[in-house]
Subunit: 468 residues, 2 copies
Amino acid sequence: MSDHPSRTLATFVAQLRFDAIPHEVVERTVNLYVDWLGSALAGKGARPVESVARFARAAGTCAGEHAGTAEVLIDRTRTTPYFAAMINAAASHFVEQDDVHNGSVFHPAAVVFPVALALAQASNASGREFIAAVVAGYETGIRIGEFLGRSHYKIFHTTGTAGTVAAAATAGRLLGLTPEQMLDAFGSAGTQASGLWEFLRDAADSKQLHTAMAAANGVMAATLAADGFKGATHILEGAQGMAAGMSTDADPARLTDRLGERWATIETSFKYHAACRHTHPAADALLAVIDEHGLEPDDIVQVTAHVHQGALDVLGPVHSPVTVHQAKFNMGTVLGLVAYRGQAGVNDFERDFSAGDIVAFRDKVRMALDDEVDRAYPARWIGKVSVLMRDGRTLRGRVDEPKGDPGNTLSRGEIDAKFRQLAAFSGAATDAEAAQLLAAAWNVATAPHVGMLFGGAPQVAVSIPAAA
Amino acid sequence: MSDHPSRTLATFVAQLRFDAIPHEVVERTVNLYVDWLGSALAGKGARPVESVARFARAAGTCAGEHAGTAEVLIDRTRTTPYFAAMINAAASHFVEQDDVHNGSVFHPAAVVFPVALALAQASNASGREFIAAVVAGYETGIRIGEFLGRSHYKIFHTTGTAGTVAAAATAGRLLGLTPEQMLDAFGSAGTQASGLWEFLRDAADSKQLHTAMAAANGVMAATLAADGFKGATHILEGAQGMAAGMSTDADPARLTDRLGERWATIETSFKYHAACRHTHPAADALLAVIDEHGLEPDDIVQVTAHVHQGALDVLGPVHSPVTVHQAKFNMGTVLGLVAYRGQAGVNDFERDFSAGDIVAFRDKVRMALDDEVDRAYPARWIGKVSVLMRDGRTLRGRVDEPKGDPGNTLSRGEIDAKFRQLAAFSGAATDAEAAQLLAAAWNVATAPHVGMLFGGAPQVAVSIPAAA
């Protein structure tokens, strides 16, 4: 174990070369990229996402000929990498379809890809450089999430906190930081790390702010580091660092766990259902028991989802969801959708989260802490449900790896279809455009330049509100 | 005590009217403004401050005709309120001459005034609106600092954390937020609150980042709230809010302590010495004992500074300072300067922090936790030193209120002189310009418009680096 893990990790990511990344990790990273791109496009039109975009346009005062070097995916304008990363990250997490790493309970794509794309576009980077920067961010953020532990995730949204340093790692890699500068970038990012779960109780919009600012602060931290701005050198493990302030069970050994041998990137899960990942194990377990016994959902009297403590912490505050977004954090709604609609996709939520049958089913669902599930978590997300039927039977459903987990991952065909569905959902791309985007995205690793995803002349916003 | 203190506090500041603020509070706020303005100008040329300014120029891409509506004080350019607040806040804290509120251990000016000035300029606000917004920020941030308590300050830089919400209160007041919107602004600001002390150990630049981003995030939170972006409604006291994540001794009653009756703003202390406030009580106590006994510093063998725990937490990591800024967090350096130079001003540090006599004296100084001092802290910052002389005598010095504290405050003449010294120190204003700035600043409360402080046409940066 390193006696200075912040430095060991920073050095690893600063020196990470594309050729050192195994082929299967590159291939999976491309899958994660396509999967992310769909999520980012799906955020178009969402109120909080558009609000962040309006803020960024006003704060940046970009206009006319100063068209910017990076692309905003939801409206095809261009701006600086700072604001492009901010807006695209706000968009990435909104429909709850972006990826998640189980062991760290961290959503890497939402904070890593917006930074990688913005700085790759601005610096005209190759696909190889892009992939290396993405892997740098995943490996960093996942290890920091694991390091901060379960006590951290009880209060803090790890994607906001660990995500800020992950974003800095990705940005620093594309800016060509030295190991020393990367350590500075970690310091400046870590001291800006933030994001509290309190917003969930109110159906507030903070989740979009967390990803937006993790990405933007990561760009800032790395850019400052390139300019000589010094950061704390022990920001992760130090006596007044991130773990000291925001964790009671931190394990520094996790920060440097088998660097260059274990590729945490490929441990990342894809989301099949468009809901908080904590609902997925139970959703898949319910689908399994319904399928096995050919159950009619109207005959179900009660469902108990046997969950880990983290699910109770995050989903517990949401009782009667009033928005689509909040419904994605309500176990009953998700189980109702899978019972009646066979899935809980973006369109199912949009159309039916408050439909009569779903609300009625919601009230039949309760969560209970399960010792086996909780002990396995967060390394494994076991799904277990007990279903009480009208005829008095109690049936049990179980999945050991929810759909999308590494051992049950999505195929390229499934990812392709999910992308098309998400692009169509928000109207961010026509079917023809989606096909073009997919063709380019599947080949990103060999592209000489990542470049702009939407061709043609930039359409830049020209209105400049005074007060932002 | 309120059962929803976040809302009570947000409502108070949203509804705060200039006419409700007592005359003496307005007068003291003007003193705090003049005092802050000197600190902001003094940051010109400082490496980390200029680094933040370069980042902001690149990230904002302002240029040419889109000259911006708010002023950057260190270079007289204009930009958006977001970036003006960011840069001016980075500048405000650098020379360690900005104000501090004892009970909350919070530096209000550095995060409140940059926001107030930027948005007052952008919205063409009057001096009365400006003062009300400033008082809103002080009253908010001070109460949140007191609420978060001593456990928070052990790890977190309260000026970064509580300061983010204070900045949002000030911004929200100038944007005319309703109480409901102000609560949203608190939610978005509080979930972005960050700032760790870890940087002190390394003489890193994070303190400037903390104030810069507290101010900028405050502007962002309030601007988003005006646009309908929802925040957590219990961000301060909630089960997954700021105190839950970052304090073990939080006292919610402090959040709403005598709102409208107790004006915490006038409890704020001015800094006389250009060093961390934790050094001031001992510095003044040492000056007192030297003065009383006519001591020669060369005859001093050892000095023990009897301090509160907070001083050990913040100053403890700094042993052999390698930069001027780090020296301001070293008790020995500060005591050496006051012993040999009679004061520890900006020029004394710049010239002499590593001079032979100061370094030799530094090594004669130790800190010891003192029960009386610690029990009085943070409400009172008592200074006590024991001085062992070459002739074997041990002499004791004591001050109950260090110079600049409310009961021993600076006169307008002293603030005026401090301002001129700070402006000259950095070269941010000529003597003639300083006189003009002072004349306007002392009359700010009756000004029909706050306006631009430096007249003439804006000088806008036109270079647009690619990668930021």
